[in-house]
């Protein structure tokens, strides 16, 4: 083969040529690469050094994002870190409460009871406390919307006004659907609106209305009102299914009065309370004598009671005395003995039952004494029958537009689905709701109203008793008060605040004589929050109208299972479903949160192998079971207010909605069903039960006695206390508290177990919501819990409530076991927690015999897994700046609201005076609706707490352990015959 060569070198030494060639190529490439990278070692060091230095500088310069903007000109009354209190008014879900709003750095952070209110008298309910969190709810609308798209107010107003005018000319009705309106100025605005649009039909709708009472009183007294019930004046209280301490009409007011009538620290007498009901309600749990009966039997029972009272009053009894399920002889006798100081109430929505109740109260002469008409309750004005008319009109196409304010019939009406479909087709549908909900979801326009803490307003919960609502914060979002919206659509520009003032100047100012000028009157009322006109006493004439029919009426046939629908103590009628505080509040009786459940009778459950968390179907609806001691045989109770589908991230799809099962008879909604089909399934459903053992096992935990025994010996039932005191010996020097020595007394006789404190405390102390799974894991964070024990017969148990918070033991077992001394004792007797010292060994939790210490099992704030209230800037606005937000891995517990103690101590120091007794009120004490909690200085012999600690009823929980708690409990006294 011929060999070709490229150069002489190749020809001479082809091998070497190849090598040289390759080397040259490599060198060339290497040079190129170097050039490309453009970096030598020196370059690398330069870059490295610069970037490190740069990174260090950047990192060290990083500043946290400050969202606080300093005041350019400081408002007069705002001092950073100092709280101001503004009186205001809560009225939502038919519940009224006069409140004080604690505002710190421009944010409302706590709601307190207003002691000046003659109605709620410093009490609040769990819902009132939790309503604060609704202000910072992520589910709130950011601004007006049309079909889910934001639209400016001007456009919305133009469209709605045009639509209203069109409808007015077309002759179709426009329905203004509101819940009960207790604001007198709003009433005049609505009237003004109706003047412009005469076809507007103002319809009031309440999910749980008082139709029965209103109708019965219309018949008996010629006036459809709810009278004023005086539970404090009654010596005998008989309730037929009315949960007046939990949900019925005005529970806060009634709880105050009820507790007052049974307060043994002030008087030596107490009322006796009889309760007839199917499921064990909060009120039934507090009753002295409770009869589990089917709801269908109530009519019969009332008839019999009426007949017996007639007999003992020498009147001829009415006909129709059937077989009595309960022996009423003793009750009738007792009522007769206490004629004029008895009180009979019924929770039924059937006017016939209410007529019988009226007749009984009339027979006993209770009217004018325990029941008066001088200040009728105005919080439930709606009539179911009227709403039924509306439904017919809506279905018939007579309605052209609906404006919803504070109502959610798509969710809470039995025919919600039908209403939704009809609303969707309307030419005009407007909602004033401030957050997403089922009805708003089907409305075309959303004109969000501000939260009540952002609003002006007034209220007249009871005739002649007024209160004012004032904004405690600037509107967070683009909202507008419905009053202004309505007037705008009526063609008038109205500033509602101005309107309100003018209204008060015109209507209320002339009726008082205390102030000469309106400004003073206004400012004074605004400051106090309440204003009361003297009661107009106009006794109403009694008529027996309808009574005969009621007596002759046949009750519903009692066949098979009966399902009782109740309002839940935590959620009410379901309005607040997106409120995690309320969702996490355990039901006072069942101690279950985050779900509703079917309460079934014990005996049936045992016979059928049904246990807690079994699933049964009720008319096809699947519900988890709670085996409820005291549940009447053949009845099942389920709470309403659950199963919301459009409520927000927290409240969606929790529990089951029972409203669709609710029967409507003659336009009136009934709260029980007969002949219910109950079937067992093999399914299980986890429930967040926060107390699983219900017996005290004979331990002296809640000490109780009978009223008779207490009268003879005030230490009755508390004999152990003296024994333990006499055995108290110690090797150690007795601790001395030279300044203050804080203590708390819990009157177990007053505590009704409502759970107000369990929500007031998280609001004050930044306690985090942990969610259903963690509650089920028994990791609820509540610092104050209410233990509930059953005793005696499971078919009809006695119930004891016991609030348990940190006992602040002077010989605290938790303190000496902490290896890092994170929980020391203060020289004022407080057991303190140093969160930043705690390493989380949890030894203190184990060694606390009361188990009041709580561990932060996870990071509960700013954690996607706990997406409740503290996962957004908005939600975290509720945090109290005086209290540390605890991190993961530390132990926390009740501090006796040490921040409040310090605050008042400083105030007293600045003012150069000693602290006054009762000046310091921890969050739980402040708003307790039954005044069960008292806080004070045990070193002051004149203080209320010292007197209570010396009360013969006082004892300490587990005092035999010599932990020397600073919390004392006063024995529970039941007004029962035997001791």
């Amino acid at each position: 083969m011929k060999s070709y060569w490229r150069s002489l070198e190749e020809r001479q030494n082809p091998e070497q040529f190849k090598i040289d060639d390759a080397r040259a190529e490599i060198d060339q490439k290497r040079d190129l690469m170097k050039k490309d990278a453009g970096s030598s070692r020196r370059d690398f060091l330069k870059t490295f050094g610069f970037s490190i230095a740069g990174a260090a500088v950047v990192a060290s310069c990083k500043k946290p994002v400050e969202k606080a903007i300093p005041f350019l000109v400081k408002p007069e009354e705002v001092t950073p870190g100092m709280a101001n209190y503004y009186a205001s008014t809560y009225f939502e879900g038919n519940e009224y409460c006069s409140i004080l709003v604690k505002v710190c750095d421009g944010r409302p952070i706590k709601i307190e009871g207003n002691d000046l209110s003659p109605v709620t008298r410093q009490g609040t309910s769990a819902r009132v406390q939790a309503s604060l969190l609704n202000l910072y709810d992520d589910a709130r609308f950011r601004g007006p919307q049309k079909n889910g798209e934001p639209l400016p107010w001007t456009k919305i107003d133009a469209e709605i006004t045009e639509s209203l005018q069109q409808l007015d000319t077309s002759g179709k009705k426009v329905v203004l659907l509101t819940s009960s309106v207790i604001s007198p100025s709003t009433r005049t605005i609505i009237e003004a609106f109706q003047k412009v649009y005469p076809r507007v039909w103002w319809l009031r709708y309440d999910a749980v209305s008082a139709t029965g009472i209103l109708k019965a009183n219309q018949l008996s007294f010629g006036k459809a009102v709810i009278p004023d019930y005086h539970f404090d004046r009654a010596k005998v209280i008989v309730s037929f299914g009315a949960d007046f301490l939990g949900t019925w009409l005005a529970p806060v007011e009634y709880a105050k009065k009820y507790a007052q009538g049974r307060d043994l620290t002030r008087q030596a007498e107490m009322s006796r309370h009889y309760q007839f009901e199917a499921g064990l309600s909060l009120t039934g749990a507090n009753a002295d004598v409770r009869f589990p009966v089917k709801p269908s039997e109530e009519l019969l029972l009332l008839k019999q009671l009426y007949n017996r009272l007639c007999l003992s009053g020498g009147l001829p009894p009415a006909a129709g005395d059937g077989q009595s399920p309960v022996d009423l002889t003793a009750l009738a006798e007792e009522l007769t003995r206490h004629a004029g100081e008895a009180l009979v109430v019924s929770g039924s929505n059937d006017y016939r039952l209410q007529l019988l109740v009226n007749a009984i109260n009339h027979l006993l002469g209770n009217y004018g004494k325990t029941i008066t008409f001088d200040r009728p309750l105005l919080t439930r004005q709606a009539s179911d029958e009227e709403f039924a008319l509306f439904l017919t009109a809506l279905a018939a196409g007579e309605v052209g537009g609906v404006i919803c304010h504070g109502v959610n019939p798509v969710y809470d009406h039995p025919e919600g689905e039908k209403i939704a479909a009809l609303l969707k087709n309307l030419p005009l549908s407007v909602s004033f709701s401030d957050r997403i909900e089922e009805t708003t979801a089907v409305c075309t326009y959303v004109c969000p109203e501000p939260h009540y803490l952002e609003s002006w307003g007034d209220a007249e919960p009871k005739t002649g008793s007024f209160s004012l609502m004032q904004p405690a914060i600037r509107r967070l979002f683009d909202s507008r008060q419905p009053q202004e919206s309505l007037m705008k659509w009526a063609g008038q520009e109205v500033n509602y605040y101005e309107y309100l003032r003018q209204y008060w100047e015109k209507e209320l100012f002339p009726k008082q004589s205390l102030f000469d000028g309106f400004r003073q009157f206004w400012n004074d009322t605004l400051q106090k929050g309440v204003f009361e006109l003297p009661a107009a006493s106009s006794p109403l004439a009694w008529s027996e109208a309808g009574l005969t029919e009621a007596l002759e009426a046949a009750g519903p046939a009692s066949q098979g299972w009966e399902l009782v629908l109740t309002e839940s103590v935590a959620l009410g009628n379901g309005k607040f479903a997106n409120n995690p505080w309320l969702q996490e509040l355990p039901d006072p009786v069942a101690k279950i949160s985050w779900d509703n459940f079917a309460s079934v009778p014990v005996k049936w459950a045992e016979e059928n192998g049904v246990t807690n968390e079994s699933v049964i179907t009720i008319n096809g609806l699947e519900l988890p079971v709670f085996v409820q001691p005291g549940q009447a045989p053949q009845t099942i109770s389920v709470a309403l207010g659950y199963g919301r589908t459009v409520a927000g991230k927290v409240g969606d799809n929790l529990g089951v909605n029972l409203y669709p099962l609710q029967p409507v008879e003659n336009g009136v909604r009934k709260f029980f069903l007969t002949g219910v089909n109950v079937e067992l399934t093999s399914k299980r459903y986890p429930l967040a039960i926060s107390q699983t053992h219900h017996s005290m096992e004979g331990r002296p935990i809640v000490r109780e006695t009978a009223f008779g025994a207490w009268k003879v010996n005030p230490a009755a039932g508390n004999e152990l206390h003296a024994i333990h005191e006499s055995k108290m010996v110690t090797l150690y020097e007795k601790k001395e508290f030279k300044g203050h020595h804080w203590g708390m007394a819990v009157d177990l006789n007053a505590c009704i177990g409502c759970g107000n404190c369990a929500i007031s405390c998280p609001a004050e102390n930044n306690i985090q919501v942990v969610g259903k799974e963690q509650v089920r894991n028994r990791r609820i964070m509540h610092w104050i819990r209410i233990d509930r024990y059953f005793s005696e017969q499971p078919e009809n148990p006695r119930v004891s409530f016991q609030p348990v918070m940190c006992q602040h033991c002077d010989n605290a077992p938790c303190e000496n076991v902490c290896p890092v001394a994170a929980t020391p004792h203060s020289d004022e007797g407080l057991n303190q927690m140093a969160y930043n010292r705690c390493v989380g060994t949890r030894y203190c939790i184990n060694n606390c015999p009361y188990r009041v210490r709580r561990f932060n099992w996870f990071q509960f704030v700013n954690n996607e897994k706990f997406d409740y209230a503290s996962n957004s800037d908005l939600g975290r606005m509720v945090l109290n700046p005086d209290v540390t937000v605890r991190s993961r891995g530390v132990v926390e517990k009740c501090s006796f609201c040490v921040q409040r103690i310090q605050d008042k101590k400083q105030l007293a120091k600045i003012e150069g005076r000693p602290l006054r007794d009762g000046e310091i009120q921890p969050a739980c004490v402040q708003s307790c609706p039954s005044n069960a909690l008292v806080f004070g200085d045990m070193n002051d012999p004149e203080s209320k707490i010292s007197k209570l600690m010396a009360d013969p009823r006082n004892y300490h929980l587990l005092e035999e352990l010599h932990t020397l708690p600073s919390v004392g409990y006063l024995t529970k006294v039941r007004n029962v015959a035997e001791s």
Binding site: Q691, T692, H693, H694, S695, M696, E697, G698, R699, I701, Q774, N777, R778, R779, I780, R785, D787, R788, Y789, Q802, V804, P813, N816, V817, C818, P819, V820, A821, R837, C838, V839, G840, T841, R842, Y843, I845, N846, N847, P849, Y850, R851, R853, R854, F855, N856, W857, F858, Q859, S887, R888, G889, V890, V891, L957, L958, L961, T963
Partner: protein, 461 residues
């Protein structure tokens, strides 16, 4: 020639000193057997899973475990006490048998001590992990600080725990290590590879075997042994005060310190037995770990088991005798006949009854039965700790607080991880460290006739 047939030889096979060295070092020199790799990889897998679970715990929080507001301590503390108990054996073995002049211990003490060190390491993981904020564990050290007069709480049993365990770990590790120095020197001298020579040489501290060194060595052993003897008793007594000092029914008992110490030795000896039977079977160490060794340990176990039974019965009696309703409820209605009856009876049967089988020679002879019983005791002792920790917490004073506890898979994973760590540690010990103390066992070698090879070996010929 004088024969010591009465006590019998402690080493079978009439081995020369050289043979002893060679046979004991053989596994280190030999190729790693396949089962070792299998077991080692498995244990590493377990450890890896455990580490993952620890990672989950540390990153998400103690909520990853099954604990709650009523039961603040769960498997972590059960396992901690269990491991600490196992960690007792090595030192107890060496010290108590040394005091009692039981020469047969020489065949076993090295393995027992190794086990101690690994077990204490496993145990020490738990107090750290179960803290809510483990990154602040140094708060528990009594160090001078700038936080004013803030000091640790000297009243807290957890602080005593920390002191006791760290002291114990330090002493038992030193005791074990210094005991190995002559053996490391032996390996160094025999090793062929340079790396091995260097590594073992480093650990051998330049040991030459001179008389002066032996003198110092023995002196040090006695001093460390003396300290360790006290610590063996103190460490578990102190662990028991975690419970005894509290107010909880079922915890607040004065019997706890001795009861815990005995229990610890019991579980430790059972674990030694488990390991030694395995070691004998896997490495054919029958000549060193003879039937009489197994027999002796079994006899000790009978004795301790009787003490355990007595302790259990005493606890029950005192609960009744105290008249405290909380205590009685705890013992009778929670443990014996209650919700936790299974755990109680598992503990009682495994610890107090099953070991009584060792009364029978036939049982003691059969290695697999001995192995089985030793494992049962280990499980029983775990249940004892479960009984103490969990039952007391779940049914204490206020019935409203009563709650149940079951571990989450993460907790189980952490435990699996420590088991993996333990097995891996023991396997490494088998592989790289003479599993029997060569120098010590040589001292108990007895011969009926003079051995020429000894003279040769020591350079006399």
């Amino acid at each position: 020639m004088y024969k010591t047939e009465i006590r019998g030889p402690l080493i079978a096979g009439d081995k020369s000193l050289r043979q002893i060295s060679e046979e004991i070092i053989a596994p280190i020199e030999a190729k790693t057997p396949w089962w070792w790799w299998g077991a080692f990889l498995t244990s590493l897998g377990m450890l890896g899973f455990g580490l993952y679970c620890m990672y989950l715990t540390v990153t998400s929080g103690i909520g990853a475990w099954g604990l709650n507001n009523t039961i603040g301590w769960g498997w972590a503390i059960v396992n901690f006490v269990w491991w600490i108990g196992i960690g007792h054996a090595g030192t107890a073995f060496s010290i108590f048998l040394l005091i009692l002049r039981q020469k047969w211990r020489t065949a076993i003490n090295r393995a027992a001590e190794a086990m101690t060190v690994v077990a204490v390491m496993c145990a020490a993981l738990f107090p750290l992990l179960h803290m809510g904020r483990p990154w602040l564990f140094f708060f528990i050290f009594p160090y001078p600080n700038t936080r004013g007069p803030l000091w640790v709480n000297f009243n807290s049993p957890l602080f005593w725990d920390f002191v006791a365990i760290s002291a114990y770990l330090l002493i038992s590790a030193s005791f074990w290590y210094f005991g190995m120095v002559p053996d490391f020197a032996t390996i160094r001298d025999k090793a062929k590879s340079k790396i091995k020579k260097a590594v073992y040489g480093f650990f051998a501290f330049g040991w030459t075997g001179s008389s002066r060194e032996w003198l110092r060595y023995e002196g040090l052993s006695f001093v460390l042994g003396g300290i360790a003897a006290v610590l063996v008793v103190s460490v578990h007594s102190i662990v028991s005060t975690d419970f005894a000092v509290s107010v909880e029914p079922g915890w607040h008992t004065t019997i706890f310190p001795p009861y815990f110490v005995v229990g610890a030795i019991f579980s430790g000896f059972a674990m030694v037995l488990t390991l030694v039977t395995l070691m004998r079977a896997l490495y054919k160490m029958n000549d060193f770990v003879t039937d009489s060794h197994i027999d002796a340990v079994c006899r000790i176990l009978i004795f301790i088991s009787l003490i355990m039974g007595t302790a259990y019965l005493t606890e029950i009696f005192i609960a009744w005798y105290s008249g405290s309703e909380y205590e009685m409820y705890m013992i009778f209605y929670t443990r014996i006949f209650g919700e936790y009856a299974f755990q109680f009876w598992a503990m009682f049967i495994a610890n107090a009854l099953v070991p009584q089988l060792f009364w029978f020679k036939a049982v003691r002879r059969r290695l697999w039965v001995v192995f089985l019983i030793s494992v049962i005791i280990n499980i029983g002792m775990w249940f004892e700790r479960f009984n103490i920790v969990i039952t007391s917490l779940s049914r204490d004073y206020l019935p409203a607080n009563w709650a149940n506890y079951s571990p989450s898979w993460i907790e189980v994973g952490v435990f699996t991880g420590t088991l993996g760590l333990f097995i891996a540690g023991v396997l490494l010990f088998f592989r790289f460290i003479p599993m029997i103390a060569i120098s010590e066992i040589k001292s108990v070698a007895k011969y009926n006739e003079p051995r020429h090879d000894h003279l040769k070996h020591s350079g006399h010929e």
